[in-house]
């Protein structure tokens, strides 16, 4: 069943996420990213950063739970078992670093019903609690229809 298009333009806010130095190290280690910028505070400082630098896909740790808030919104009525991750994109103002306290606002930019499937396009603006833009995260979700 097509999703309710009146949800286009809705926004969802998520409480602040404090980026931990050890979380960056753990995430970097899990993806085989051994560069000192991710692990060594002195190396990060020498490169002009206040603390270790997160790898490019690190923000998924906070943007995915923020997206679930929308996917599990009973008013929108998405059948989670039919959700497929379609596209993902990160557009940076600057890298995420240890100590950042980040707020995610999720915007529903587009809802389309095509060939029996729903397509839900979201944009997540990730800023510091001080209002500095850090990264914009685009996510395309496909909700498979009955025949797909």
């Amino acid at each position: 069943m097509p999703l309710d298009q009146s949800f286009i333009g809705h926004t969802y806010e998520f409480p602040p996420y404090l980026v931990g130095r050890e979380k960056i190290r753990e995430f970097a280690a899990a993806i085989g990213a051994g560069d000192p910028l991710h692990h060594d505070v002195e190396a990060a400082k020498a490169a002009g950063y206040p603390d270790v630098v997160a790898p490019p896909t690190f923000p998924i740790i906070l943007t995915m739970p923020a997206l679930w808030k929308l996917v599990f919104d009973p008013a929108l009525g998405i059948d989670y078992s039919r959700v497929v991750h379609g596209d993902q994109r990160f557009v940076y103002e600057r890298p995420v670093v240890g100590g950042d306290e980040l707020v995610v606002v999720t915007h529903i930019d587009e809802i389309m019903f095509r060939s029996g499937n729903d397509f839900l396009n979201t944009r997540q603006e990730v800023r510091t609690t001080g209002g500095e833009p850090v990264v914009t995260v685009f996510h395309k979700t496909v909700v498979r229809g009955d025949n797909a």
């Binding site: 979380k23 753990e26 995430f27 280690a29 899990a30 993806i31 085989g32 990213a33 560069d35 910028l37 991710h38 490169a47 950063y49 630098v53 790898p55 490019p56 896909t57 998924i60 740790i61 995915m64 739970p65 078992s81 497929v84 991750h85 379609g86 596209d87 993902q88 994109r89 990160f90 557009v91 940076y92 890298p95 685009f138 395309k140």
Partner: protein, 137 residues
């Protein structure tokens, strides 16, 4: 590492990443994504998958890592986007599977280059429209 200067049309050397079940468990813990399709064969097959598959975001993270190596700096990526087209099945063996990445320089502008990436697992492309914009000299 330091930034490099890439030329339009330049083909970047292939990078191959081995992916095992252990890697998926570690990524699940690091990322907080505990979806059972990434660690339970019983669950994965019950929803029509061939077995446990890698997190799409793990494959994307490896793409980001490959780009950082080509770019010569771990903080070079300013834009990274992919479309997930095929799952990456990860058998429960010591070898697991592997994903290989190649790239070609699609455009250059002062201070930046844009790469078109290809990610292959088991002879099949697993990402489409995979693109990265990086800082360069």
């Amino acid at each position: 590492m330091s930034l490099v200067n890439l030329e339009l049309g330049q083909v970047l050397p292939e990078q191959v990443f081995r992916v095992t079940r252990e890697d998926l468990v570690r990524y699940a813990g690091a990322s907080g994504d505990f979806n059972r399709i990434h660690w339970s064969d019983r669950f994965a097959t019950s929803v029509g998958l061939p077995g446990v598959i890698a997190h799409g975001m793990y494959t994307m993270a490896l793409a980001g890592q490959a780009v950082a190596v080509w770019a010569g700096a771990a903080d070079a990526v300013v834009d990274l986007g992919v479309r997930f087209t095929r799952p990456v099945p990860v058998p429960d063996t010591d070898e697991g599977t592997s994903v290989s990445f190649t790239a070609v320089v699609k455009s250059v502008e002062p201070g930046f280059a844009t790469l078109d990436l290809t990610a292959v697992c088991g002879g099949e492309k697993v990402l489409a429209q995979a693109r990265a914009k990086i800082k360069q000299i």
